[in-house]
């Protein structure tokens, strides 16, 4: 029996996840609604003045995007570990990192990408000027992508743990803090009219680091989780 080429196998995993999510569409919209609700809380809690909200809009949009992504991450591997699909992947002999990366990519497309597309609207509600939209979208693209990989590592480590969602946040958020610092700074610099090239480049570097080494950590963590 010939083995399936790895890219074909990864594509199958990707399509499977998208198909499954299509059948449970409401699960995809929940993080998005959470995003809008959380960003709405800030003007209510601080000030309705757009001129003042503009100062913190970069940070608020970023923090809300991180928290919303985290919501969906806990269930990333849970269903597959419970019904044994992950075990089959580990035993299949295919490079596990690619399969997991395909799964993370599907997850990003279902949660991260909608957040990124929603962010200019949410940002404008907080006083973000039109000129900063480009930086906002680019920084959040890299940021949510990296967070999906980091969250994948955390989810792989905590799959099956009781009340794992809080633990997952506790593990992923400290690792995501450099991301937040650079991403929010990029947007704030764009709002002030400075060039955000520096933080954006660092953000891109972090993204590629996560993309290259993240699957290694994820496959190690998954192997540990399905061992017993």
């Amino acid at each position: 029996m010939t083995r399936t080429p790895i890219l074909e196998a990864a594509r199958l995993v990707f399509r499977r996840d998208l198909t499954l999510a299509w059948r449970r569409w409401d699960e995809v919209t929940q993080p998005l609604i959470f995003y809008v609700v959380v960003t709405t809380m800030f003007p209510l809690a601080t000030t309705p003045e757009l001129s003042q909200l503009r100062l913190i809009s970069g940070g608020v949009v970023w923090v809300a995007a991180l928290l919303s992504s985290l919501l969906a991450l806990e269930a990333l591997f849970r269903a597959d570990v419970e019904d044994g699909t992950t075990e089959q992947w580990v035993l299949s002999g295919q490079p596990l990192g690619y399969l997991l990366l395909a799964k993370v990519a599907a997850h990003w497309m279902l949660t991260g990408l909608p957040l990124v597309l929603m962010s200019p609207i949410v940002g404008t509600a907080l006083g973000l000027p039109f000129e900063a939209w480009g930086t906002l979208v680019v920084s959040l693209l890299a940021g949510t992508g990296t967070l999906s990989v980091l969250g994948g590592i955390g989810a792989a480590l905590t799959v099956g743990v009781r009340r794992g969602s809080v633990l997952l946040s506790l593990l992923v958020l400290p690792l995501a803090m450099p991301l937040l610092i650079f991403g929010a700074r990029a947007v704030t610099m764009a709002i002030d009219g400075d060039s955000p090239a520096g933080p954006l480049q660092l953000l891109a570097a972090i993204f590629f680091l996560a993309l290259s080494l993240g699957p290694l950590a994820m496959s190690a963590a998954i192997r540990i989780s399905v061992e017993n």
Partner: protein, 242 residues
């Protein structure tokens, strides 16, 4: 020739050897810390800029150094346990985590106490303080992950992966004062050229660092013995020894 090294991987031998090693770490640590305390509080002169309040440096800097050292040791032990599946290495990693977390907390607390009279603020979000706080979160996350599993083997291996993923923060802390010049003191000792601190103030700092390092060794011996006892509580060798 390497038998003594391989023996360290066996819990009963390690327990015995650690018990013998502990006083060799402990007494010199006590002496060095006492001498450095006397020197730092009494003998070293008053700083012309900061007065006497600078003396908290003698606790603050060694704690911060040890917090990073302890994390790297924890990550290295975790990696050894993960790669070569040596249980003692996982036990060492677990034993070292609370020590490192305590050092991190001490560094943050003493830094905060120093900051108030010196720069008028208990806290500031500059690069080094933020990344040191991050280190505390990483320690706490590691200990939380460890505690969340019932199966000890899975706890070991999962937290080992986490420790290795988090080790990237340590060089960020160390080099943060070079990359971003902010409120925190830039590097005075480990720069490439001569240190920019007076020798009579530098010596107690080195003595205190050595004392803390030896204290870490002593604490690790004691905690690792306790960790071995906890893991091997049903083993035959322990029952026979009692």
């Amino acid at each position: 020739m390497w038998t003594w090294f391989h023996k360290l991987g066996s819990p009963p031998h390690a327990y015995r050897i650690l018990g013998k090693m502990a006083p060799w770490f402990g007494w010199p640590a006590l002496v060095l810390i006492l001498v450095a305390t006397w020197w730092g509080l009494w003998k070293a002169p008053t700083d012309y800029q900061q007065g006497d309040a600078y003396r908290i440096l003698y606790i603050h800097a060694p704690s911060a150094w040890m917090s990073m050292f302890a994390y790297v040791m924890m990550a290295v032990a975790a990696a050894i346990g993960l790669i070569w599946r040596i249980k003692i290495a996982h036990a060492a990693s677990a034993a070292g985590a609370p020590i490192g977390a305590s050092f991190t907390f001490l560094a943050l607390a003493t830094g905060s106490i120093w900051g108030k009279p010196m720069w008028g603020t208990w806290w500031v979000w500059d690069a080094r303080l933020t990344s040191e706080l991050l280190l505390l979160f990483l320690y706490l996350g590691y200990m939380a992950l460890r505690a969340s599993f019932d199966d000890p083997q899975r706890a070991d291996r999962a937290s080992a992966v986490l420790a290795i993923v988090g080790v990237i923060n340590v060089p960020i802390i160390h080099y943060s004062v070079q990359w971003w010049t902010t409120l925190h003191q830039p590097a005075s000792v480990t720069k490439m050229d001569r240190p920019s601190i007076a020798l009579v103030m530098l010596i107690p700092l080195f003595l205190m660092m050595a004392g803390f390092q030896l204290y870490y060794g002593w604490a690790m011996c004691r905690r690792l013995r306790g960790e071995i006892l906890r893991r091997e509580r049903n083993a035959g060798w322990l029952k026979e020894a009692n």
